[in-house]
């Protein structure tokens, strides 16, 4: 029995890791979408987190916990810088700024010789694994569910539905926007650090525009009615290429098609139900 389970784990190791990491990424984009904003920088924040954590582990031999903490803080600081203007402006501007940010981080990693340049960073020590990944995912799921059930969740939903009305009712829009962006980038950074420490290799081209869109498609497929929805979306989209092997080459096309169909015909995702509120 245990042997069979062990075999299963070794065969599907990367898939098991991938589902958990992508679940965290789905939650990170959910946090921004939940206040009615669109960030296409999740992949960039993930990359910054991955490089921060991996560089610390490889070059300085820091304990895993320190790498993890740093991989949350550095992307959060970056989000503060990029997100500053969004205190005044929203929507399209944030989307554009974050697309630009993604391109720039790729160029930086590509040209930064200390971080391996185009070759990327290899032989990152294997840390964390399944317990760390799924532990983080569980903590975030519970935490975000509690937030969604509280007064804060009500304010977030109000912002998403009608920003002007929410503002009139006294929701501090700029603060919510900025906090959402910073929290979400920290989460994406942690996801990057976790995935770097299980795959033991990272490269500059893993965190480009396509990765950003893939992350967005998790939340669009699942919906953003509750934190569970985007995680379900990411699980389906991570498993899909494995289940439909012949489809694997067209993964990006399928992701694109899913986004188009989801927005046009299923605007609330496959888990449309909203969370019950207590506060």
């Amino acid at each position: 029995m245990w042997e069979a389970l062990d075999d299963f784990y070794w065969t599907y190791q990367s898939l098991i890791h991938g589902i958990g990491v992508n679940g965290i990424l789905a939650l990170s984009v959910y946090v921004v979408l939940a206040v009615g904003q669109l960030s296409l920088g999740q992949a960039a924040f993930m990359g910054v987190g991955a490089y921060t954590g991996a560089l610390l582990s490889v070059k300085f031999g820091t304990p895993f916990a320190v790498s993890m903490a740093a991989s949350a803080v550095v992307p959060a600081l970056l989000a503060l810088v990029v997100g500053g203007p969004t205190l005044r402006l929203t929507g399209v501007y944030l989307a554009i700024a974050t697309i630009g940010l993604g391109e720039i981080t790729r160029i930086v990693f590509l040209n930064w010789d200390y971080a391996g340049g185009a070759l990327g960073l290899s032989s990152i020590p294997e840390r964390g694994g399944v317990p760390a990944i799924y532990g983080t995912l569980a903590v975030l799921l519970i935490g975000l569910t509690l937030v969604a059930r509280s007064r804060i969740g009500r304010a977030m939903e109000a912002m998403r539905e009608d920003e002007a009305a929410a503002g009139v009712m006294g929701v501090n829009l700029p603060r919510y926007r900025l906090v959402a962006l910073v929290v979400s980038s920290a989460m994406a950074g942690v996801a990057g650090c976790l995935s770097a420490h299980v795959s033991s290799f990272i490269g500059p081209n893993e965190y480009g525009f396509e990765a950003a869109v893939t992350i967005l498609s998790y939340a669009l497929l699942g919906g953003i009615g509750s934190p569970l929805a985007p995680v379900l979306g990411s699980t389906i989209l991570t498993l899909l290429p494995e289940v439909l092997r012949p489809l694997a080459d067209f993964r990006l096309m399928v992701n694109g098609l899913i986004i188009v169909l989801a927005v046009l015909f299923m605007p609330r995702g496959i888990l449309p139900w909203r969370i019950a509120r207590t506060g």
Binding site: G36, L38, L40, V82, G84, P85, R88, L89, T90, G91, V92, Y93, A95, I96, A97, I99, G100, L101, E103, I104, I107, N111, E163, F209, E210, V213, L216, S217, L220, D249, F250, L252, M253, N255, G256, L257, I258, I259, V260, A262, V263, L264, P267
Partner: protein, 293 residues
């Protein structure tokens, strides 16, 4: 060598400005950041390439062919993707995400169908040669690019600013409902704008393909970052702003590459973008009433 760099910068900037003018027209009238715009860029370049390769057309004839095909695809995509959302008066974010999904689909599809290797215009398309003005050498390709960009831009500006169709387009941009009450066919105008901006994007693709002599499916993706920078710096939806900001970006990139480093060159667009968002969010020509959301 400064003069030479200035010439190169103006030529590059003209293509950026042309690219951004179609992009910003689309945004200004429809209120939607249409990310499929980068696709028209590559489509125009490929259509022109094929018409030189298979039909043996000279480049001055291949340029309109590329523009025409990109324009038609733009109308088709706009109808497929955005009509439904427009009817439902869906928020801007939904439109942005639909075009995002479509872009991903189209890029992956084009890469699968066309291959990702870099293609070039046949050598006989270039009539080679260069003119010298003192120390400055100006290639015939550069002259062609600059001339085509200026003619296309003037034609578009004349159309939007000085014709009845342009008046109708501006009316739709200002207030679609009021325009409809005045007897303007809004759906038709949106199709005209889609065609125009798609065609401009396609033409820009042909010219950039000529300038770098490299055509591949993802060439628009690289360009979109510059497009964003140019329309934000110029002011969303403003044609004059796009023109000026395009030239500014072209010059800044060429000068940075020449005197600082080519790595920094790729970051100029983003630096301009963030600086504008920080210090003058409405852009060079932005009006206080510019729509935001």
């Amino acid at each position: 060598m400064l003069e030479q760099q200035l010439v190169n910068g103006v030529v590059l900037g003209a293509t950026y400005a042309l690219f951004a003018i179609g992009f910003t027209l689309m945004f200004g009238v429809m209120g939607v950041i249409n990310l499929t715009y980068g696709v028209y860029f590559a489509l125009g370049a490929f259509a022109a390439l094929w018409s030189t390769q298979w039909a043996g057309l000279p480049i001055w004839a291949a340029l309109p062919v590329g523009a025409l095909i990109a324009g038609l695809v733009a109308v088709l995509l706009d109808t497929l993707l955005l009509t439904r959302l427009r009817k439902a008066k869906a928020p801007e974010l939904a439109s942005l995400m639909v075009t995002l999904g479509a872009t991903l689909f189209l890029y992956a599809g084009m890469a699968a169908a066309l291959g990702t290797e870099i293609r070039r215009f046949p050598a006989e398309v270039f009539s080679g040669g260069a003119y010298s003005l003192g120390d400055v050498r100006v290639g015939t390709t550069q002259i062609l690019i600059l001339a085509a960009a200026i003619v296309l831009m003037l034609a578009l500006l004349a159309l939007v600013r000085g014709s009845r169709i342009g008046l109708a387009i501006r009316a739709v941009a200002e207030n679609p409902d009021a325009a409809a009450l005045m007897g303007i066919n809004g759906a038709l105008m949106l199709r005209v704008v889609s065609f125009l901006s798609g065609a401009i994007g396609g033409a820009a693709g042909v010219l950039v393909g000529l300038n770098f002599n490299a055509i591949q499916p993802f060439m628009g993706e690289h360009m979109m970052l510059r497009g964003f920078a140019v329309i934000i710096v110029g002011g969303l939806g403003d044609l004059r702003g796009a023109l000026l900001a395009g030239l500014l970006l072209g010059l800044a990139e060429v000068l940075t590459a020449a005197y600082l480093s080519s790595t920094l060159k790729d970051m100029i667009a983003f630096a301009l973008l963030v600086a504008t968002l920080w210090f003058r969010p409405l852009g060079l020509f932005g009006r206080a009433a510019a729509k935001r959301a």
